[in-house]
Assembly symmetry: C2
Homo-oligomer: 364 residues x 2
Amino acid sequence: MVDKTNGSTTGTAAADDRETVADKTIADKTVADMTVGIVGLGLIGGSLARRLAARGLHVIAWNHRDHPYAQAEADGIRCVASLAQLAAAKPRVIVLCNPLKAMPAILAELKPVLDPAATTLTDVGSVKGMVREQVEAAGLGECYVGAHPMAGNELSGWQAADPALYDDALWAVTVRDDTSYERFRDVANLIVSGAGNRIIVLDDTVHDQAAALISHMPHVVATALINQLVDDPNRNIAAALAAGSWRDMTRVALTDPNRTRAMVDEDAANVESLLRAMAGRLTAVADALRDGDDGAMTRFFADGQPFRDYKMMQRSDDVRYEERDVAFDPSHWQTELLASARRGEHVIGFAGDHAVCVQVRSAV
Amino acid sequence: MVDKTNGSTTGTAAADDRETVADKTIADKTVADMTVGIVGLGLIGGSLARRLAARGLHVIAWNHRDHPYAQAEADGIRCVASLAQLAAAKPRVIVLCNPLKAMPAILAELKPVLDPAATTLTDVGSVKGMVREQVEAAGLGECYVGAHPMAGNELSGWQAADPALYDDALWAVTVRDDTSYERFRDVANLIVSGAGNRIIVLDDTVHDQAAALISHMPHVVATALINQLVDDPNRNIAAALAAGSWRDMTRVALTDPNRTRAMVDEDAANVESLLRAMAGRLTAVADALRDGDDGAMTRFFADGQPFRDYKMMQRSDDVRYEERDVAFDPSHWQTELLASARRGEHVIGFAGDHAVCVQVRSAV
């Protein structure tokens, strides 16, 4: 079973429990002597570096500007002047926390200095297929395991960095059929034992489709809603009548449209397909309203019930997640861990060489 | 100009200002001696009755059950045992605050006892075309002026009734070409001077289209989103990755689907048309993504900018709304007040017989 000292096995979502995680020094031998390299000390990278250092890992970091270095050093983070110095320290894992647009340049700079035998490369990018292509293009594909932490807020930069940003966080870890199990395990251990977080193991395609479903496509829908209002001759009347439902459904359309567009462009094929599916659903309801099709309307309003039930369960005050150990065949660990994720299981630790301990967290 | 004592002319949205409105006894002679009948002492009707009584109006009420009567009487609301007694008191305005499904039965009961020469009928229903049809069917069309207050919360019933529910509220008042100006003015005065609220003057069609745009259609879109997730083979993974954008865009899909369906059915033609328009917008973005149509994508993310700018302005700390007097031709008061609403002007009082004082509140 998982090491109970890592703080993520409580099974409750209570804030009290979570708040102790960030500053807890871990005893887990698998990561206590691990050196982790962090590229980019912004909100995401800075928060991770501070959390890992606070929990007892050796953290070495590089940032494109050195303004956070004094504070980072005070937090126990060793800061270096170049990516070459970072790579020379031979960290077990380097986490690329730089902006996606800087990825090709940083990978090109790392390629000649990184020792693939010593270091595994991972990242925190919100799309996984595109990052893997860039890593492959840089000739670093063999070292790479993808990652995407579900953490963030509306702030940015080192000044906003906070170890608690990762409290109770879930990470998607993305692998391929040819991903080395040892490299995967190093990244997974860094997250579950090092950061005290949960993981689900996916492939790039499943990750990017799911991200399109729950974020990229809905951003387009929200934008289409405000466009619909602006195009209406009675838009000032509609704006006057707008209340909570409109406010919530259009909130994400109010953020920087260029950032939204970049996110959509990076996941274009998945967003395209989901937009067509949504257009089909809306047209089907329109047809049912035109035809007075009671059966179709009843089904439309019933189909989502499993999600309503799931949210109701999540909101209950004393939600407790079932925990179990899941053994997997070492020769098919990727597909078996993906199947576990499909069951709504989140990995909170390893239970031997080829078994994980999971919580059933998102079974809709 | 409007009577400055009615509390709604401050021009700011500051909570400090609003909180004083509910309990303020009004001096406005146009409504101080007005008797108002309230049918239904639930959240909406109970809050209105308490607010009007607190502000010095004579309020008489009937409820289908008498459990709130003791508390209501203590609040200065005269409670009666039947609709016949309510009508016999000849209130200047009766506000129908009963559930929409009870409307036909209540109208049928009112018809033989209501004195059309003494009383104007209004309501608080969230759809206006259907209510007017019911009022017409009951033979009470000549007495009727529609109304829909933008007030409410997730609660219901007399126990949740709170005069502050109407703080800074906007009401849509719906009229037809044959609506009596005197009846309109009684209802409008009840709202602006009696309740201390704002109004926009609409016709039923414009109201129901706008309500479909900002509420009924988005509820269908939110429902389609959760259906899309539930239908996905990777739904548990998508649910795991879901964050703030998904939560906000699907919140209204979690409420009672039967209530949502009833709302959609009551405004079916408008919802149908808007769903087709939205399906067209989503398909156009899908096509642009497929074709790499940079121009179309740029336009899509730019089209809603006036709404973003409007929300930004609204959120500023010291938002002040321009006030002006708007005179109108008595023979075309309906269309001229509708034109005022289209300019984003909200009526806060009368300025003579044929002019209103407005605040420019929702100019997108």
